[in-house]
Amino acid sequence: MNGKDTKIFGILAQFGDPGELLQAAEKTRDAGYSKFDCYSPFPIHGMDDAMGLRRSPLGYIIAFISFFAVIGGLSLQWYANAIDYPLVISGKPFISYQAYAPVGFGLTVAIAAIFTFVVMLALNGLPRPHHPIFSSSNFEKVTDDGFFIGIESGDSKFDTEKTKEFLSSIGGKNIETINN
């Protein structure tokens, strides 16, 4: 197991400011860690690259869903007003997409927004009211002015002692072990 312990969630270290966190993230990435996260009170510009993360796939997911929302929105109107109960309105054609545009658009936007919210939460593994990392009382600062790196025990390079040493060598303070 090489110093691994399933009881341990990971090691948490605090950094002073966004710049330090960004540099520390780069060093952690370069040291070969991949299962780590950088915690901050606000998103930090350039952090995705520093951590070696790929762009969020959310945009593509929502584009895919929106495509069906458009089709669904238009066919709802078409089915309702032209097939199930044909309504003759001033003798206008039944498939008048111009007249169906406002409702189709409104439905698409609403459905896309609902899915954006739900899929964002799902990708983030939320809602998750409790998480091992909340056991650190110092971590409460993350929503105020604290900047943290947490390296998780699932990482192939993780070793309780060595990881602690590493975090301290890149300038981490208040290093603590987070238990599951």
Partner: protein
């Protein structure tokens, strides 16, 4: 001076967005202390007043359901009275919040961070007030569900080619999107309140509402993308919702309504009235909660400039309507506009022109658009003027249409007035609850625009100011 030199200079002369030498912690303190401290006495008084207004609204609606729309001042040519005026008024107000939260976000206008949260809240509450009116004006409220495409025992569907139905969808999707956008923005701030909460109940409530937000970059990555998408989805709504509202009028054949200028004209008016409301509310809020260093005079000045621009667009639309009425050679159309300016509703027309066209011209003076009391008064004038704009449009065209024999004069009853005042009660009840229990300014986003939020701020020696100011 070359362009790059000019730009360089501009970067250095731009004052910081947030004043008073803020740190990340001071921002957290300044904003989250508002819902944390003991409820101030003025809040109870204000809440009692607005809550009474809301109860009055409920009473008015109750009597309306019991008795029918006959209690309102509607008469035979004027079938759309204050209910529609109020509906358009409230929906319009909402638009400023969406413009601030969506369009200014996409345009990277960093000053929006100080005002977007409560402008969005204002949007949601204004849309709630707006939704009340079409809901109750149908008369038979128990049949209001006919507006939605629900399979039913009559095997009937709504008519999707009617602008009134477009309106139902436009406004309800507007409400849904605004609510989700607002809540998404709230999640990290609710986590701040959770982490600061002392009591167990507060901790649980804020903990559940924040969905267990941890602030890791793996979460921020998706979060920022979601925020961007929601901003992108809201952006067309700023233009589409009031355009669709205007088609309620524009697709009719009534002189004064049947014009193609309505969609852009309504959108400009909506943003105009909405910003006036944001200015009114933010002046009060920054004073009461001592947030003058976060919502600075500079923020207010930006908003006043938008008010001026949209006010002139509205003024331009008023004059274009007149020109086209004359140029069309259509006598009914010409009459409709002359009747507005000089007919039985001339008083309302000139209130509208004075408040919406003349008064905002005072913002040409820098002194006026940067001093609190004048801009507060002007914003109130605009709120009033924009209500009268909708009154003029709805009532004057209906009251005097094609046949003089069918004309009538419309006057509201006590029930119309009470319902309108009650809708303010509903609005302020919701707004006061929001101020009391939620962070009224986005803590996360304000921190993000501080110069030290730039990762290069502390580590680039002399380049600090540049990196921080520009962003």
């Amino acid at each position: 001076m070359s362009i790059s030199e000019k730009r360089e200079k501009q970067v250095y002369t731009d004052p910081p967005l947030i004043q008073g030498d803020p740190t990340f912690h001071s921002i957290t303190e300044d904003i989250s202390v508002i819902p944390e401290k003991k409820t101030p006495t003025w809040w109870y008084i204000a809440f009692a007043v607005s809550f009474s207004g809301m109860l009055m609204l409920l009473g008015m609606i109750g009597y309306l359901v019991w008795e029918g729309t006959g209690i309102w001042g509607l008469n035979v040519p004027v079938g759309w009275g204050w209910a529609i005026v109020n509906f358009v008024f409230w929906v319009g107000i909402g638009h400023a919040g969406t413009l601030i939260s969506a369009i200014l976000f996409l345009l990277r206008q960093r000053w929006r961070t100080s005002i977007n949260r409560f402008a969005e809240a204002m949007t949601i509450f204004a849309v709630i007030c707006a939704l009340v009116f079409p809901g109750i004006h149908v008369g038979r409220i128990w049949a209001a569900y006919w507006m939605f495409p629900l399979p039913n025992q009559m095997e009937m569907w709504p008519n999707f080619r009617s602008p009134l139905l477009w309106d139902v969808f436009a406004v309800s999707s507007y409400f849904t999107v605004s609510l989700l956008f607002w809540f998404t923005g709230l999640i990290p701030d609710l986590a701040t309140l959770r982490d600061r909460a002392k009591g167990r109940i507060k901790k649980i409530v804020y903990g559940v509402l924040s969905c267990g937000w941890r602030g890791g970059n793996r979460q921020w990555k998706h979060y920022e993308m979601a925020y961007l998408i929601l901003a992108g989805l809201s952006t067309p709504l700023v233009l589409s919702v009031h355009s669709i509202v205007s088609t309620d009028f524009a697709t009719s054949l009534l002189p004064g309504w049947h014009t193609t200028i309505f969609p852009p004209y309504f959108v400009a008016g909506a943003i105009f009235s909405g910003f006036a409301m944001v200015v009114t509310l933010s002046i009060l809020a920054r004073k009461i909660f001592k947030l003058e260093h976060i919502i600075t005079v500079r923020h207010l000045e930006f908003m006043n400039k938008i008010i001026m621009v949209t006010g002139m667009m509205v003024g331009y639309a008023y004059s274009t309507e007149f020109f086209i009425a004359w140029y069309s050679g259509n006598e009914y159309e010409s009459f409709a506009f002359l009747n507005r300016a000089f007919g039985p509703y001339a008083w309302a027309y000139w209130i509208m022109i004075s408040c919406n066209v003349f008064v905002p011209q005072l913002f040409w003076f820098k002194k006026i658009r940067t001093s609190i009391v004048p801009m507060f008064i002007i914003s109130i004038f605009i709120n009033i003027g924009m209500w009268f704009e909708r009154f003029v449009i709805v009532i004057s065209s209906l009251a005097n249409d094609f046949l003089p024999s069918s004309w009538d004069y419309y006057s509201p009853t006590i029930w119309d007035i009470g319902t309108f005042i009650g809708s303010f009660g509903l609005f302020f009840t919701l707004f006061l609850l929001f101020l009391r229990f939620l962070p009224m300014i986005s803590i996360t986003e304000v921190k993000g625009v501080l110069p030290q939020a730039d990762p290069h701020f502390h580590h680039n020696g002399k380049d600090n100011g540049k990196a921080g100011g520009q962003g």
